[in-house]
Symmetry: C2
Amino acid sequence: MSAPLPLPAVWIVEDHSLLRSTLAEIITESGTGLATTFASCEAALASDGPAPDAIVLDIGLSGMSGIAGIRLFKERFPATEIVMFTVFDDREKIFEALCAGASGYLLKSESPDRIAAAVREVIEGGSPMTPEIARLVVARFSQLQPAGSEVHLSEREEEVLRCLVDGLAKKEIADRLDLSIHTVDNYVRRIYRKLHVNTLGGAVAKALREGLV
Amino acid sequence: MSAPLPLPAVWIVEDHSLLRSTLAEIITESGTGLATTFASCEAALASDGPAPDAIVLDIGLSGMSGIAGIRLFKERFPATEIVMFTVFDDREKIFEALCAGASGYLLKSESPDRIAAAVREVIEGGSPMTPEIARLVVARFSQLQPAGSEVHLSEREEEVLRCLVDGLAKKEIADRLDLSIHTVDNYVRRIYRKLHVNTLGGAVAKALREGLV
DNA sequence: CCACAAGCCACGAAAACGCGTCACACGGTG
DNA sequence: CACCGTGTGACGCGTTTTCGTGGCTTGTGG
């Protein structure tokens, strides 16, 4: 952890040439790592060098989108950390990037110091984000359970519901839980009533959305 | 935003008395806010004063758990920001707290400076976390969509799938899409095949989990 | 032009499901 | 004690779903 490691290899993928060289300078001069620059995802992926430790990636690239790029980079270099560095601050872009495998998300308004620090942070296993983005991310969690859903399922009912979500038929559920099919049927009906639905689909959807399983 | 605001009111809920007073000191002396301390959630909730701007909350309290406390605080003071401050760094505790409505999560190993900064950050709309916790949080996202599911549904199939997720019966779907119920049935079966499931529940679960809708 | 695949629509029989209703045991609570 | 919630099991009936099988259009390529 604290040995005199070789300088991390950092790729910069950014289509604005000025910004690209500025970024490289920041990374190099701050002693954060050895920067290699590319003007596009395609160019970076065409490189046959060894895997970098981190990639600083613009999301609004011409040609391949940054989001698509993330997946390709992650596929080819699973251990490489990716930090998004873009002007986009809308939710969908952020979540798409994070889902695709990015570990950090910065905006272009950040200071050079912060950027170098972010690269270090992501290499050390952190997830650099602006405070606002961090808030969006955690908000996505609490929204999953809107609170006040107030659906109390008994233990058995919950168990049956889990089976339904797993795609089992009633007969299979009866088999797995060692119950009569009639009993399972009764539970399912109770679940329907409590969830205010009247189809299997509705129950499963509600269960997943409200985090009942 | 930048007006000479009155000092934010900050509650400290922590059962270790020494730590409690230390925290209060940090918050006050750094000029972050006006600290009021409580030894338990119950005590804080019994207070009839005005809503605080932020609460620093220990999760391992005797009596009511911090997690349960979050919900109660959020219910009573919806606009109050909550920062967890605990020794627990296991995933479940973290996600429970975030789902319950906490906006930040720090460990007790953090420096006093960082704690005061975190309180300021959470009041300004951020989500202070340690880098490791931030990583856990974003990791939870990429795991949601394992990528490369590669399921191509035709437009009609997708439409039908959406209806299923909405809890409609085939008959209702046929009605809504102006199709014969037999046709709907065929689409449903095709969806089953493409999704490798054989029940409505499985299809809905897969659709939601893979974000096909 | 014809074949062939893909998407779209339909029938009918067997199986599963949705629902009302009922019964009994068991552990708490008023 | 009586009552209620929970867990378990059951019957019957009408509806829905499942599934094998078929036909019909469109578009693409040989």
